[in-house]
């Protein structure tokens, strides 16, 4: 009995370290991808200096950010200002615990896995609000207010679209949802829900064309205007990890998770398929960001309340009726 | 436009007179001598006649500072230069409530020349920083100041030019 507890503790420790490490690695990969893809979209080479094709640039950037001074504005609320980046970091690490990368590669499979993720990731709003309020900067506060309004609004269609899938699987367990897609992936069964989820996830992660909280041409940099060094990079890490989380959820719920044509990597092929799908979605998000202009705030809200929520509700109703039949 | 009879009539009511000048030499079609009393009525007339204010500025000369108002029209070739010589008391009414564009021009003239426009809504420094009210950078120093005659077209010359300008002027209108 004692060894079992010890074993479990060790397992937890290792997985937490791995998850945190993954958040950093993910930021490196995404930072590189974003800069390289945006560069090619804009017909320029992008990163080329450090390492072959600038692969090591992000490492250097990370070191630089660590070395930077942490500046706290004079009239800022020091506690809130310092705590906000940490708080934004925590809720993006926790969801990774329940995400099933492959049939076996998963830290924990909760019965309420999906609810756990959604509950935790809403905490991110709090961090942004703290950062905006704590900075004592009007632009930051603008960004924070926009972010809160936007994230809370878009959580509704997001949840409704996910609920449609849950009605079909009858389980909140992430592993269970993936297993239910053995025959057909749900984005074929639930195309409306998939579309709504993708649009809402852009808003949830504050990515263009819904990047109003950090709209640099209006609000300089929104809620992280006053942050420097690691404070700023924690927000960036959180943003990229957040992207990974929403794309993972999309992969699990709509794209069949780790299902895929068997690859010659044995047990790893599931995980490889999962990462291909998740990163494919993230590349899609990058593509959209560097193509479209930004929407206006009232347009964004109108779109949510007047189009997305009614559609999501109708979709949910139709699903419920069809499942019952 | 400025050559029509009705326009000339309205000007006569204000006891103002338009003088045609040679466009090829001066770049404007007509000039008019304004006074502080007639300025606002003249501006209203110009607004009714669908002119817009190209610019207004000032030239420092002795004995008085000259204010220059240039008006032009969007739909015809007509450029009118209004001149206003400041009285000894230096009082000029604002036209910023008639031509809102002159608001900033008048503030700029206040910055550079220190001329105060009566009833202007906000004569704070626009281009110069606050607290530079005494700078008046475009006022000439004593030794560089020229008299009005020295910086005006010589009358004899201008008269000859005027007659020459007549045909070209009428063809344009």
């Amino acid at each position: 009995m004692e060894t079992a507890v010890l074993y479990e503790l060790l397992r937890m420790l290792i997985s937490v370290v791995l998850v945190v490490a993954f958040v950093f690695i993910n930021a490196l990969i995404m930072g590189y991808l974003e800069r390289k893809i945006s560069a090619h979209i804009q017909r320029r080479p992008g990163l080329m200096e450090v390492g072959p094709h600038g692969i090591l640039q992000l490492v250097i950037d990370g070191l630089k950010l660590i070395g930077k001074q942490l500046i706290v504005p004079k009239d800022a609320d020091r506690t809130l200002f310092r705590a906000a980046p940490l708080l934004s970091f925590a809720p993006v690490v926790l969801p990774l615990i329940v995400i099933p990368f492959s049939p076996k590669l998963q830290v924990r499979d909760f019965d309420v896995g999906l609810i756990f993720i959604l509950a935790i990731s809403s905490l991110n709003v709090l961090a942004i609000l703290m950062a905006g309020w704590g900075s004592n900067n009007k632009y930051s506060l603008f960004g924070a207010m926009r972010s809160v309004a936007q994230n809370i609004s878009y959580e509704i269609p997001m949840l409704l679209s996910l609920l449609a899938v849950i009605l079909m699987t009858n389980t909140f367990s992430m592993q269970g949802i993936v297993q239910a897609q053995g025959k057909i992936w749900f984005f074929l069964v639930q195309p409306v829900a998939f579309l709504i989820y993708i649009v809402a996830s852009f808003a949830e992660t504050n990515r263009a064309p819904f990047d109003l909280p950090e709209a640099e041409s209006e609000l300089t940099a929104g809620y992280h205007t006053e942050y420097s060094g690691m404070g700023f990079s924690l927000f960036m890490l959180a943003e990229y990890a957040n992207m990974f989380v929403v794309c993972s959820i999309a992969t699990v719920l709509f794209l069949g998770g780790w299902h895929g044509i068997p690859l010659p990597f044995g047990a790893y092929s599931g995980a490889i398929w999962f990462f291909i799908k998740a990163y494919g979605l993230m590349v899609f998000m990058i593509w959209v960001r560097w193509t479209y202009p930004r929407t206006r705030f009232d347009q964004l809200m109108n779109f949510c309340w007047k189009y997305m929520i009614p559609f999501a509700l109708v979709n949910l109703l139709v699903t419920a009726v069809l499942v019952k039949l | 436009m400025h050559r029509t009879e009705s326009f000339a009539q309205s000007l006569r009511k204000l006891s103002l007179e338009l003088q045609e000048v040679d466009f090829a030499q001066r770049g404007y079609h007509a000039e008019i001598l304004l006074t502080a009393d007639t300025l606002r009525d003249f501006a209203r007339l110009m607004l009714e006649a669908e002119y817009f204010l190209v610019f207004m500025s000032a030239v420092h000369m002795s004995p008085a500072i000259e204010l220059v108002y240039q008006f032009a029209q969007f739909n015809s070739q007509s450029r009118i230069l209004g001149r206003l010589f400041l009285d000894a008391d230096g009082v000029v009414p604002t036209i910023s409530d008639i031509f809102q564009g002159s608001n900033w021009h008048e503030r700029e003239v206040k910055d550079f020349f220190g001329i105060v426009f009566q009833d202007h809504p906000n004569l704070e420094p626009l281009i110069l920083p606050e607290g530079s009210e005494d700078l008046k950078p475009l006022l000439k120093e004593e030794d560089k100041l020229k008299s009005c005659q020295e910086v005006s077209w010589q009358p004899a010359e201008a008269e000859g030019e005027n007659e020459a300008a007549e045909p070209s002027g009428s063809e344009k209108s």
Partner: protein, 371 residues
């Protein structure tokens, strides 16, 4: 700021937009009284890039002031060169050879296109689209390369001289310009597909920042701003200078005077500029590129003005001479100054995001306003 020292209602607050702000394009500061995201009262604060060019003009000979003209509107410096050179020529009665006039027109129009391409990218950047600016800069770079070859500089040109231009154009220039015209015509399709048809873009600019014809008249707004409001006013047509009367070109106008109309006007203006350049290249006469001018240019006593159509509207130089070679007084009427003065009336009650879109569509160059 003076008009705004008191907040009229307790929940309102001030927002300082600028002097360092990504979408004020330079060092414009707009002091905003805000009610949430709504602007109650915007007040531009100028002068951060002020150099007192008008005083500088009084301190040197009239020909020595030529480089300064390019330092005002650095995005389209050649029309500024053009206006000043033509002003001195008008005052001193100097004849310009026809070839020089043609070269002036060609280079000015190239510069106008470069300026509009810069504006195109900057407006989209203001609206949050990062990519178009790099596409438009690709084309702008071509113009800068072409102009660099003959003028010697890439941005602040001092190419025109009193009586002509400083250097003749050669066959290489003509060839490259023709190639560029062909290239840009194809690029318009890309811009059209990438931007003009985009629903987010249309929603951001349509009906935003409406300036009507009456407002243009009261504020003296000219250039694409006035044309967007349906006023077909263009100094090149209304009061033809140089050799513009010899070319066949249209003045695009808008209907509603919103940001979208101003956008469309500028996009179509680039096509018209291409037409002018094409015709000018076809008709380009042989001959000297610089006329005979006296060693010392004496400005007669009297005042004189010259208006040209700069990239942003009507540019008028007003010069008072005193018989010497130094101007007694030079007033420079810059288009952006009047165009920006519309802002308080235009943006009252707007959302902050719309202010950015409206200001972007006015195409402001701040050093030009501050002079």
């Amino acid at each position: 700021m003076p008009e705004l020292t008191k907040i009229s209602q307790p929940h309102r607050f001030f927002l300082n937009m600028g002097p360092q702000h990504p979408s004020t394009h330079g060092v414009l500061r707009v002091l905003l009284e805000m009610d949430g995201e709504y602007i109650i009262e915007p007040q531009p604060v100028l002068g951060y890039g002020h150099r007192m060019q008008e005083k500088l003009a009084e301190c040197r000979t009239c020909t020595a002031f030529m480089p300064n003209t390019a330092r005002m509107d650095y995005a389209a410096a050649l029309p500024y060169n053009h206006g000043y050179a033509a002003l001195i020529e008008r005052m001193a009665g100097i004849e310009v050879p026809p070839r020089a006039e043609y070269i002036r027109v060609i280079t000015s129009e190239l510069n106008r296109i470069a300026s509009h391409l810069l504006w195109f990218g900057a407006l989209l950047l203001d609206l949050g689209a990062f990519t178009p600016i790099l596409y438009s800069f690709d084309d702008r770079e071509q113009i800068l390369d072409i102009l660099e070859d003959i003028t010697g500089s890439r941005l602040t040109y001092c190419y025109f001289r009193v009586g002509g231009v400083s250097k003749d154009i050669d066959d290489k220039f003509v060839e490259r310009t023709r190639a560029f015209i062909k290239r840009l015509r194809q690029r318009f399709d890309i811009f059209e597909k990438l931007v003009t048809g985009n629903v987010i873009f249309i929603n951001r600019v349509k009906g935003v920042g409406i300036i009507d014809a009456d407002m243009c008249r009261r504020y003296g707004a000219t250039g694409p701003v006035a044309r967007g409001s349906g006023i077909p006013y263009d100094v090149r047509k209304n009061q033809p200078y140089s050799v513009y009367s010899e070319f066949d070109f249209d003045i695009p106008v808008g209907e509603n005077g919103d940001s979208l109309d101003r956008y469309m006007v500028r996009m179509r203006e680039m096509e018209q500029s291409l037409r002018i350049i094409e015709q000018a290249l076809d008709k380009l006469p042989e001959g000297p590129y610089r006329g005979k001018i006296p060693k010392k240019i004496k400005l007669p006593a009297g005042d004189c003005c010259f208006s040209v159509e700069a990239a942003r509207g009507e540019l008028t130089y007003y010069l008072v001479g005193d018989g010497s070679d130094v101007p007694y007084r030079l007033k420079i009427r810059v288009p952006s100054y009047s165009n920006l003065s519309v802002l308080p009336e235009l943006c009252r009650g707007m959302l902050l995001s719309d202010l950015v879109a409206a200001m972007g569509s006015l195409d402001l160059v701040i050093p030009e306003i501050d002079r």
